[in-house]
């Protein structure tokens, strides 16, 4: 029992005084096998809020406060973090983990706190009539699968018949998400799909790549994360798989994934949901945040792929908060108002340009029916000599004719399981 009382003391110490601020919990992971991706994302996420506080004096005059909580990509710690931070007036959760997302979806619907899973999580959450508090704009996994296939189809003059495509995936909810879409698309485009699973954490991929070497697929699509990406790219280099035929999704295309393989990784392609170029906003971040000593990390990640995406996620959250402030006419918004702001969010080119990040993402607007945004994605290629990712294409549209029925079917199954009547609540 003494341990419990000391624990109570610890919890009491943890609870700070309530000030007027907008709380954005950051369920980050800076430890464990997925830290390589978690650190730059979290740095970007926190630095953007720090920038907004330092440069603009907060969101609509109210300072943003980021509460960081380490999850180590572990679902149990994720639950602990959620419970620990939700009492502080959390406005939106972005766990950056599909496993934690699945856990939080029922909880956030019950607690009335929005959940934003940008390009990950449960794809069918795009149906806002069922998932009232879950958003996955600007794009989701099924969009990514479709964008990859569209790109490959374009490479082959619009015909993929008889091509062999292999999906190399992380054996988890995350990696399994695109399988159904790729199967549907295989039926439509006539390519032959094989799926190869890699178990957590993905350091051991010898047998998988042996199989790839034997089967000689035309293309390999990868749904990887963390240490799995580096290993896969190294293994691909080892069997001399042509890198330009190896496409990662947008979680398998950051600098730290390709650099360990050195020059051998040259030509590796990946999807991206946000364009990575040197935006003016990075100068602001360097001036207001890094040089002021308020950066979440050491500042070395500024401008990297996942840093940019973390910053993009924070920017979307800030814009949604501003929208919520406009709708409700209150500066100090709560989670319910934040949800309304997210549902009314509209991203235009002019808005992104004004924020110092022109063309970072596609234009989209969120509605109650569509929490998933436009679903556009682009393809980028790694240039090992220059050490940069070069966007190869403009934003490619996914095949909504295939994806929409899948989303409808999966979300209806969720609604039936959980007794939800689909519909847009008036609030």
């Amino acid at each position: 029992m003494t341990r419990l009382t000391t624990l109570a003391l610890g919890a009491a110490l943890a609870a700070g005084p309530a000030l007027a601020d907008l709380v954005f919990p950051d369920l980050s992971y800076r430890t464990g096998p997925y830290a390589a991706g978690g650190i730059p994302f979290s740095d970007g996420y926190q630095d953007y809020f720090a920038l907004v506080n330092a440069r603009d004096g907060g969101i609509g005059g109210v300072p943003a406060r980021v509460v960081e909580c380490e999850t180590a990509y572990n679902t149990e710690k994720g639950v602990e973090c959620y419970e620990a931070t939700k009492g502080e007036g959390a406005l939106v959760y972005q766990p950056l983990s599909t496993g934690i997302t699945y856990q939080l979806i029922p909880k956030v619907q019950a607690d009335g706190i929005p959940l934003h899973t940008m390009g990950y999580g449960r794809t069918s959450a795009a149906n806002g009539e069922v998932f009232s508090h879950v958003f996955n704009y600007p794009a989701n996994y099924w969009d990514a699968a479709s964008v990859a296939i569209s790109y490959l189809s374009g490479e082959n003059g619009g015909d993929l018949t008889g091509k062999k495509i292999t999906l190399l995936y992380h054996n988890s909810a995350y990696g399994k998400e695109p399988i159904r879409t790729l199967e549907e698309l295989a039926a439509k485009h006539g390519y032959e799909l094989t799926t190869i699973a890699v178990d957590h954490p993905g350091q051991e991929q010898g047998s998988q790549w042996l199989r790839i070497r034997r089967e000689r697929p035309d293309y390999v699509i990868m749904w990887g994360w963390g240490v799995m990406n580096q290993v896969a790219i190294q293994e691909a280099a080892n069997i001399r798989f042509p890198m330009e035929n190896f496409i990662g999704n947008w979680w398998a295309g950051a600098e730290h994934d390709v650099t360990p393989a050195g020059a051998a990784a040259n030509g590796y392609k990946s999807l991206n949901m946000n364009r990575v170029v040197d935006y003016p906003v990075f100068d602001d971040i360097r001036t207001y945040v890094v040089e002021a000593g308020n950066a979440a990390g050491d500042g070395s990640n500024v401008g990297s792929v996942l840093y940019t995406r973390g910053m993009y996620a924070a920017m979307l959250a800030v814009e949604a908060a501003k929208t919520a402030q406009e709708i409700h006419g209150v500066a100090d918004i709560d989670a319910g108002m934040m949800r309304d702001g997210m549902e009314a969010l509209e991203m235009t080119a002019a808005k992104m340009e004004a924020l110092g990040m022109p063309g970072i993402g596609p234009e989209f607007s969120v509605t109650c029916q569509n929490h998933g945004g436009s679903g556009l994605g682009l393809v980028q290629q790694w240039d090992a000599a220059a050490g940069t990712w070069t966007p190869l294409t403009d934003f490619i549209a996914p095949d909504d004719a295939v994806i929409d029925p899948l989303i409808a079917a999966d979300s209806e199954a969720f609604a039936a399981e959980n007794g939800i009547t689909p519909g847009c609540a008036e609030s």
């Binding site: 650190i39 639950v79 419970e83 620990a84 998400e177």
Partner: protein, 358 residues
């Protein structure tokens, strides 16, 4: 002074045979029960229930289960995570197949299913012992996780392979799903922990438990004096898997609500429970709970202390957590190789003589 047999006269055989023959122990036990059943449910909040108490209760059930097998019967098992997965998936299949069935019964049935699977994987223990048995149970761990990943029937063909618990109620109060109250989930798990501890305590005091301990201490000698090793080992596997299955079912349905088999029930969970049992004390019910508290609550406590209390960087705190917990494990194992339960025993020995140690 307070803690002694002297003066506590027993006039019936039943009094002599009770679980806590010393009056002071008995009162302490009653006090804990009153506190756990009568006070905590009224003050518990979401954070305490979901982050502290539920994991403690559920892991305690799992640790008691493994302790029966490893601590009482001497059969080392590394398959606990796999058996918890059996409990969780049995629970999910039963919940979705029979929506009207009471969740309490579902959890018990899941334990039953796991008991069956446990007996199946316990069969090799009749031929192989020690480290070799550990490897055989390790095979069970990997096989079961692979099975639940591979066969879509187990997760009702969902796109992601995740299973999630729909809402189920006990006496009209939801205990699974998103709309639960902290006290309801807490009490639900507490009832199972009390049941598990009661079952384990009474089994280990009786003929069955004595046959397990005989097998543990020396199986050939046990066989010579008439203990049937087949029955002793398989009952140990059965009871142990039953409890572990219940823990798995609760872990999935009440605590997490959605799980993915590879992450939630991987090999690290088998090690976690084994460490709980070793640190808590082999062959002790109290030790199982102490070990669970040590392994589950200490990281949460350290996190609150380092990040919330001292304002450390989260990554630094996470790394230090590992260092501190690891250091403490080594410290306890050096100071008391028989676990926390042995420290508790020593404290009681001292208390018996207090305040006149000579």
């Amino acid at each position: 002074m307070f803690y002694r047999e002297a003066g506590d006269f027993k006039t019936r055989y039943a009094d002599d045979a009770q679980s806590f023959p010393i009056a002071f122990d008995r009162y302490r036990y009653y006090a804990v029960m009153v506190l756990a059943l009568g006070v905590v449910p009224f003050i518990v909040n979401d954070y305490w229930a979901n982050a502290v108490l539920l994991p403690f209760l559920i892991w305690s059930v799992a640790a008691i289960g493994l302790n029966i097998l490893t601590g009482y019967c001497g059969q080392v098992s590394l398959g606990t995570g796999g058996f918890m997965a059996v409990g969780a998936f049995a629970c999910y299949k039963l919940m979705t197949a029979f929506p009207g069935l009471n969740i309490g019964i579902v959890v018990l049935l899941s334990g039953g299913v796991t008991a069956g699977v446990g007996v199946l994987f316990g069969l090799p223990s009749l031929r192989i012992k020690g480290f070799y048995l550990a490897v055989a149970t390790l095979a069970a761990q990997f096989f079961l996780v692979w099975l639940f990943n591979r066969v879509p029937w187990f997760y009702n063909y969902s796109a992601s392979g995740q299973i999630s618990a729909p809402e189920r109620t006990v006496f009209g109060v939801p205990v699974t799903g998103p709309n639960t109250d902290a006290w309801a989930t807490y009490l639900f798990c507490l009832v199972f922990l009390i049941g598990a501890a009661w079952l384990a305590r009474n089994l280990t005091r009786g003929a069955v438990g004595r046959s397990w301990m005989a097998i543990r201490d020396m199986d050939i000698a046990a066989e010579i004096i008439g203990v049937n090793p087949l029955r002793a080992k398989l009952t140990a596997f059965m009871v142990s898997s039953f409890l572990v299955g219940i823990a798995g079912a609760l872990f999935f349905s009440v605590y997490l609500g959605a799980v993915e088999v590879g992450e939630a029930f991987g090999i690290q969970k088998s090690f976690l429970v084994l460490f709980m049992v070793i640190i808590g004390g082999l062959g002790s019910i109290f030790g199982s709970m102490a070990g669970a508290a040590f392994m589950v609550l200490l990281p949460v406590f350290l996190k609150n202390l380092l990040v919330g209390g001292l304002g450390w960087d989260t990554a630094l705190a996470a790394h230090f957590e590992l260092v501190i917990v690891g250091g403490l494990i080594i410290f306890f194992l050096i100071v008391e190789p028989h676990g926390l339960a042995r420290l508790w025993e020593l404290a009681k020995e001292k208390l018996r003589l207090w305040p006149f140690p000579h």
